[in-house]
Symmetry: C2
Subunit: 200 residues, 2 copies
């Protein structure tokens, strides 16, 4: 991999190009699989020669790390902000699930790749940062669910509620299509209503 440009203007352009490549790669990997997609196929679709890719990434795995970073970092920051607010726990939970579901819907490709390559992420040495981000996010959700339970607003065991919530939202990437009739917010509210008690 070449070093990024030194001048700030060129550096910004380099970063933008790099981020776009990550975005496109996520789409391709989500459709065809990370391992099953060769560098040749990938660069064909990216309209880049195989060597050109290595101008931006140290290797194929660096692309994967880029995809995970684009996925995890924004939602982790949003979650910290929302969970730390002063509103009642049930309201914070609803707000978090709303932005979370919206994030999953927008980053569907990233999610699919992330889930596909779960075992690499869980075991590889250079994946610690990604694992930590994921764990931090889940801990925020866990605490928030605990708060809701403690406030008496929840409908079940906190471990079950947490597992159910993580499952519902993560699974959304597998089936949700923006062309459907449910908006992300309706979906998020539907999920939260299952957890916190509301009229059937």
């Amino acid at each position: 991999m070449a070093s990024p440009p030194t001048s700030p203007a060129l550096r910004a352009k380099y970063d933008r190009r790099r981020a776009q490549l990550v975005l496109d790669a996520a789409r391709i990997f989500a459709r065809s699989g990370y391992d099953q997609t060769s560098i040749a196929e990938l660069t064909d679709e990216l309209e880049l020669a195989s060597g050109g890719l290595y101008h931006y990434f140290a290797g194929k795995e660096a692309l994967l790390i880029g995809i995970c970073d684009e996925l995890l970092e924004p939602i982790l920051a949003a979650a910290r902000e929302i969970a730390g607010g002063g509103e009642p726990a049930a309201e914070r939970l609803r707000a978090l699930v709303r932005v979370w579901v919206a994030h999953v819907v927008v980053h569907r490709d990233h999610m699919l790749v992330f889930q596909q390559e779960r075992h690499v992420i869980e075991h590889g040495a250079q994946w610690k940062a990604v694992r930590d981000s994921r764990k931090s996010f889940e801990r925020i959700v866990e605490e928030l669910v605990g708060d809701v339970v403690h406030a008496g607003a929840a409908r079940g065991d906190r471990r079950v509620l947490l597992a159910a919530l993580l499952g519902m939202v993560n699974h959304t990437a597998q089936w949700y299509r923006p062309s459907g009739r449910l908006t992300p917010q309706q979906l998020a509210d539907g999920y939260v209503d299952l957890l916190v008690g509301a009229p059937g």
Copy 2:
């Protein structure tokens, strides 16, 4: 791949050996990834020379098909039986989720491999049978959820309920460990209680 033995006694032994290999392969693939695991690594752990594997399987992909079959066929049969019973819809749903969660817990490795290789299964030509099984199962769940909604026992939109249920149960494979404090049945009941209305 060699033909299976003709004599019934030997055929049974052959089938048992084959099933055991599928089981062990599921564990190895779940841990290390289907694509990232070479035949050499796989056969090392199976304590079988690389050539020996091809006595039982036409190729690496046949192993994957075996894993999916072991996963889908029993639960599909059970689902048909339960969903077709005469009990009230909510009871049938609870019964189904109980055996489903138990099945997921026992076949955790199969589930992880199945989810990992989602895109292969969704797109490959020789995967139609597996896709159909999966689709059949989900349709049974979908109809049963619809029945529960129709009976007035459910707590939300039927599309949301279906997505939530599929998400919760499938996601269980990602985190559940038999050494934990929740039994599969407690977990299943917890999931169902979220959907059908019960005291908070």
